[in-house]
């Protein structure tokens, strides 16, 4: 479920992105994002939505990675798509100054009347 099916471009160093990221806002919409390496230089993300009484596990999806320069060797951004039927969430994510900046584009496909919405949240990497 990727935003863009990636071509087999040059393999990038994922170390800036990998890890267990926690929302800087305790009341944020996504509580946690886990970025892990996958086969052939790819990466997966695992998101948890902040729900009550406990977080909702969104599952693991493929996340194409991107560099900041065409000649870059290090990944600094990724995208991913979660499609739950009633709602589609597109994640557009980049690292800036050690912070994971997470934009979500949220589209409702149900009849709830909720407006498709844009949101931005910030995450820090949990120390190992």
């Amino acid at each position: 479920m990727s935003v863009i099916e990636p071509a087999a471009s040059t393999s990038l160093d994922l170390s800036v992105l990998l890890g267990d990221w926690r929302n800087t806002n305790a009341l944020g919409g996504i509580s946690r994002i886990v970025c892990e390496p996958a086969a052939e230089g790819r990466m997966t993300v695992h998101c948890y939505g902040r729900c009550l009484p406990e977080d909702r596990d969104w599952g693991v999806v493929d996340a194409p990675v991107f560099a900041f320069e065409f000649e870059g060797k290090e990944a600094g951004a990724f995208s991913a798509v979660y499609d739950f039927g009633f709602e589609e969430v597109r994640l557009q994510v980049n690292v800036k100054a050690g912070v994971l900046v997470v934009v979500t584009l949220n589209r409702f496909n149900d009849d709830s009347g909720r407006v498709n919405y844009f949101n931005r949240e910030f995450f820090y990497r949990k120390p190992r």
Binding site: C51, R56, G72, V103, G113
Partner: protein, 141 residues
């Protein structure tokens, strides 16, 4: 009401209010004096969507004129805020060698444009992410 995040549990309303997209319209110029990936963005309202015309900013392989794409979707700035600010839009471009997903959003009067640039064929270059900032042109510019 099914939710992915607790804040999505909002009171039901009869129908989704239309998102006011007029705030996005206009000519947007890069804030950076130096060459960059995108130099200018012209946005027109077209029904419930936007027509987004992108011009290169003189950096790298960015074409001088990307052409016009219609927004695939426009997002509100919040779950219940379809009555006011437009939050963001998404559109796609097919340029020589690369596919580009472009996301724009308004922030403090600036248009913030992020692109995800993906090569369609294997090349010794990296797929690239950009984020650049644009100010609205003064009337007559």
């Amino acid at each position: 009401m099914e939710v992915l995040r607790e804040w999505e549990r909002v009171p039901l309303v009869p129908e989704a209010p239309r998102i006011d997209i007029s705030l996005m319209a206009g000519r947007w110029l890069k804030t950076n004096d130096k060459a960059q990936w995108i130099g200018r963005v012209d946005i027109e309202v077209a029904g419930d969507g936007l027509l987004v015309h992108v011009f290169g900013g003189g950096l790298g392989p960015s074409p001088a004129d990307w052409g016009t794409a219609r927004s695939e979707i426009v997002y509100g700035s919040w779950l219940t805020s379809g009555d006011g600010l437009a939050g963001a839009f998404l559109c796609r471009y097919e340029l020589p060698d690369v596919s580009v997903e472009l996301q724009g959003n308004l922030n403090l009067g600036l248009l913030v444009v992020a692109t995800y640039v993906t090569f369609r064929e294997p090349v010794p270059l990296a797929n690239r992410f950009t984020r650049e900032f644009f100010r609205q042109a003064e009337v007559g510019v």
